[in-house]
């Protein structure tokens, strides 16, 4: 018998995406607001309610649920609260989607508790491992002569390691494992009809190459290359933006001062122009109102 493939229409994908976005986004707003409890270096905080995307990834198409959740975090938790952290968020977006997606993908039968538990731990665990690695790499890049500083490397490893463990044990159990176990079997078979689709049965299977599309592969490749380049750049001690032009030696520092002077003058000129223009336009505004 041919395996029935788990296919969603375009609009069903959109539904899963919106559902995941709304729910995880909402929960994220609360986690952003709840303060964390520090016990020494160990920080007990509600990092994220990973159970929401995990449960949805297990019930529906993992890719759309995962990306929806990350988008939800981006929009509700960051943009709307005015806390968008820029590049950092992008990194979390990718890692989180990846973790959740894998967590959902390894599930074959959403009614088997052991599989759900495995998926939850794996999904959240992968996300944590990846983000710990990235965090360490960031310090390695960011600090000049990282290895040469006494005790720094070790302490970073300890801090990140402890954070990883507390997150895995505390958040992992309370906010990933247990709630997912509670939710998935209850929702299975009940939520799908609400979206007008059939439940993901253990027979129906989506093919891996449907999720791992060329686009997906390309994107991960590009990202890995960027990450690799960034790391090597740091290793090579190349300082972007700081170059040693030869004319410093030739002409001495005066040239530099002249450059600075000219640049400063130009800036002042532009600012003066802006101020004048600003006054004019505000006058115009006033006259418009009057």
């Amino acid at each position: 018998m041919l395996k029935e493939r788990y296919v969603l229409t375009q609009s069903q994908k959109m539904m899963v995406f919106i559902l995941s976005m709304c729910l995880y986004g909402l929960s994220n707003m609360f986690t952003e607001l709840v303060p964390s409890v520090n016990i020494g270096p160990i920080e007990l905080q509600i990092d994220c309610f990973a159970f929401i995307p995990l449960a949805l990834c297990m019930l529906f198409h993992p890719l759309y649920a995962a990306i929806g959740a990350s988008t939800g975090e981006l929009i509700f938790g960051e943009l709307m609260l005015g806390q968008f952290g820029g590049i950092d968020e992008l990194e979390k977006f990718i890692l989180f989607s990846l973790g959740m997606c894998i967590g959902g993908m390894i599930i074959r039968n959403a009614q088997s508790r052991s599989q759900v538990a495995m998926g939850a731990i794996a999904g959240y665990g992968i996300f944590l491992v990846l983000s710990t690695i990235v965090d360490i790499v960031k310090v390695v890049i960011g600090v000049e002569d990282f290895e040469a500083v006494p005790g720094l490397a070790e302490s970073i490893y300890v801090v990140e390691g402890v954070e990883f463990l507390t997150d895995l044990i505390f958040s992992g159990t309370l906010f990933a494992l247990l709630p997912t176990l509670y939710l998935v079997p209850r929702l299975y078979g009940k939520i799908e009809p609400l979206l007008g689709m059939k439940p993901r049965s253990n027979k129906a299977n989506y093919q891996i190459n449907e999720i791992i599309t060329p686009k997906f592969v390309l994107m991960s490749l590009v990202l890995s290359v960027i990450a690799f380049l960034a790391t090597t750049l740091a290793e090579l001690d190349i300082e972007i933006g700081v170059w040693e032009p030869e004319f410093v030696d030739t002409y001495g520092t005066q040239v530099i001062w002249i450059v600075i002077g000219v640049a400063a003058l130009c800036s002042i000129a532009i600012i003066a122009y802006l101020l004048k223009k600003g006054k004019d336009s505000s006058k115009e505004d006033m006259s418009n109102i009057v």
């Binding site: 899963v16 986004g25 909402l26 709307m80 005015g82 302490s155 530099i256």
Partner: protein
């Protein structure tokens, strides 16, 4: 008793909801809001990435000063700044303390200090840019720069649906409160109460997930009838929608000043 009252006041959903809505929907005009979002994004990507690879102290301080100035101009809420500052300081402190165990000394702090300066500059750049970037404009800029239209739609939809979601969530929590029974004892550190509310919070996602599922279906159905998939095929629509994004003299001036400032800072590296 006082703390529990405070906790109740602060953590009443009504309060949280009010705060959220106020933060999300208040728009204040400042220096940066007048800029084209695309310019801001390009500007930001420079200041978010490049500092990682700069180790010159002069340049880093220069960047930080620039960001402090812009943060001031962008009228960023002091609360965010305090949280940011505290985060950087405690991180530095903890790493210093632990590094002592591994034979570290004050020399260990120094690179961490410069890392904090670097991170501070980068974070302030984010804060300044994204507090002044109206998300609607932000998503339009992304749309114009070729991001999928589903993302741009989601941003706007987030703004639309948040109050509804909060309202519904509040009602469900209320159902639990009205029909459930909170523990009569607080326990040490209020752990009984906290645990109770945490469980209610998590459990309330069960009904919420189901209700939201129903809603997403209608939403997508409505999207169909509103011709959204028609628009997704059409690049004309993007031009129409984002037609208001135009570069003005302010954008050019801002870019020029930034470039000039960069020249000054990097030049200073050689003479100081």
């Amino acid at each position: 008793m006082e703390t529990s009252k405070l906790l109740n006041e602060k953590f009443s959903l009504e309060y949280v909801k009010g705060e959220l809505v106020r933060t999300a929907y208040s728009t204040e005009v400042n220096l940066l809001t007048k800029l084209d979002p695309r310019v801001l994004l390009i500007w930001y990507s420079y200041f978010a990435i490049v500092p990682w690879f700069i180790h010159s102290h002069v340049v880093l301080i220069g960047y930080l000063l620039f960001m402090i100035f812009l943060t001031y101009k962008a009228k960023v809420s002091p609360l965010i700044l305090v949280v940011l500052g505290l985060g950087l300081l405690t991180e530095m402190g903890i790493i210093f303390l632990i590094s002592l165990l591994f034979g570290g000394n004050f020399e260990t702090v120094l690179p961490m200090f410069w890392l904090s300066i670097k991170l501070g500059g980068i974070s302030l750049a984010s804060v300044a840019v994204f507090t002044s970037l109206n998300p609607e404009k932000f998503s339009d800029a992304l749309l114009r720069m070729g991001f999928p239209s589903a993302f741009s739609f989601s941003v706007a939809y987030g703004y639309r649906i948040l109050p509804t979601l909060l309202e519904e969530f509040q009602q469900i929590i209320l159902s639990y409160r009205l029909r459930g029974q909170a523990p009569s004892k607080n326990g040490i550190f209020y752990w009984r109460k906290l645990a109770y509310y945490l469980i209610v919070f998590i459990r309330s996602f069960y009904p919420l997930i189901l209700n939201t599922a129903k809603r997403s279906r209608t939403t997508v159905e409505a999207l169909e009838t509103k011709g959204f998939s028609y628009a997704a095929k059409d690049s004309e629509m993007i031009k129409l929608k984002t037609g208001y994004l135009k570069l003005t003299y302010i954008d050019y001036s801002f870019m020029m000043i930034s470039v000039l400032y960069l020249i000054i800072v990097h030049a200073l590296h050689f003479v100081l």
